[in-house]
Amino acid sequence: MAQKKEASLIKLVVVLTAIALVAGLALTGVYALTKGPIELSQKEKKDKALHDVLPGFSGNIADTVISIDGEDVTVHKAINADGSLFGVGVETFTKKAFAGRFDLMVGFDDDGVILNTEVIKAGETPGLGDKINKSKSDFAKQFNGQDPAEYKLQVSKDGGDVDAITAATISSRAYCDAVQRAYNVFKIVKEAHHE
């Protein structure tokens, strides 16, 4: 009995390898099957966000990548038929969020006025920080129509013009941080476009 239980080293290796191999094959199959739908759903989400932050625009969109604060940020330039700039959609981020990081899409018009903001990906606390989503509260709506050149992108507690979400000051600060970063990117893009 004792001898039977004491499987040889080779058997241990063979069995474990075989199981890992089959598992790997199964995963490869599922990955191949789901790769398309996953990419599609992520792209749809971004496209919808871009559409929402550039309301009323339906023309050419040129993508560029700009490096800011040590990360690459994708910028979607909405260009009118005559070549002038309609606005810019910036995929921005913040690392000051309660859950570490969240990603936003922020749309500016040609003058730098915020058209709209949309959450792309966030993991803020349900019931508190997730009020940055427009479906949960009106917090994000106060940014619309503001020009960051005059509108101080900080919560009122820090001396800014933004009303923070009750009990979620960190998420509110992070939102301001992300929008400010988007505005910094916008300025770079705008300068480059006019040169």
Binding site: V15, I19, A23, V30, L33, T125
Partner: protein, 207 residues
């Protein structure tokens, strides 16, 4: 043990989170809404079912010494499959459950059932056991989530019926999870104690 008993013992008598106190991480973390609880319960049930099935099939092939790594590889494979499928076809659920789907790998219920049941029993019994435990887990998640969502967010399955001014914030946060879980566990024990007492009394009376 009859087949029905194997299936139903997970619902109440050996309920994984309320009686065996396994899988606390998801029980506390994802029960902020009933929808999350159902999604998490379904995902865990699938993983339990599949891993129990495969492990009971392979129980004579897997040497004792490497059984734990083998179980983990099998469980992790099914969890990754579930994760990919949810990401691809139910992106909204994947967003709200986030990191907790990959964390099913370390859920003690799954490895616990593999080690305690599937590695010693036949295929059909193991499937029933996995299914029963999964359903029991889902029931307890929904119980906790229902209380937390109704008191904390004033809604049930996303349908708001209490104005947000009357919500009790603490139930959405971590301490609320512990409170609700504690009360439900106490209630569960109380019911079980009473049932067993009644049975005892009946037996004594019969004698």
């Amino acid at each position: 043990m009859s087949k029905v008993k194997i299936l139903t013992k997970g619902f109440f008598k050996e309920n994984p989170s309320l009686i065996l106190v396994l899988g606390m991480c998801p029980t506390l973390a994802v029960t902020t809404s009933v929808n999350n609880a159902i999604g998490m319960g379904a995902a865990t049930t699938f993983v339990l079912l599949m891993s129990n099935l495969i492990i009971s099939l392979l129980k004579n092939v897997i040497p004792d010494k490497v059984r734990i790594p083998c179980f983990i590889v099998i469980i992790a494979t099914f969890v990754s499959i579930v994760d990919l499928i949810i990401q691809g076809f139910v992106p909204a659920l994947s967003e709200s459950l986030g990191v907790f789907i990959p964390l099913i790998v370390v859920n003690c219920i799954v490895l616990g059932r593999a080690e305690a049941f599937a590695s010693k029993n036949g295929v059909i019994d193991s499937i029933l056991d996995g299914l029963g435990m999964g359903i029991g887990f889902t029931i307890s998640l929904i119980l906790v989530a229902a209380v937390r969502e109704i008191l904390g967010a004033g809604s049930f399955m996303g349908f708001q019926f209490i104005p947000s001014d009357y919500n009790i914030l603490i139930f959405v946060l971590a301490p609320g999870a512990f409170l609700v879980l504690g009360f439900i566990m106490a209630l569960m024990r109380h019911i079980i104690n009473r049932v067993t007492e009644k049975r005892k009394n009946k037996m004594c009376a019969a004698k």
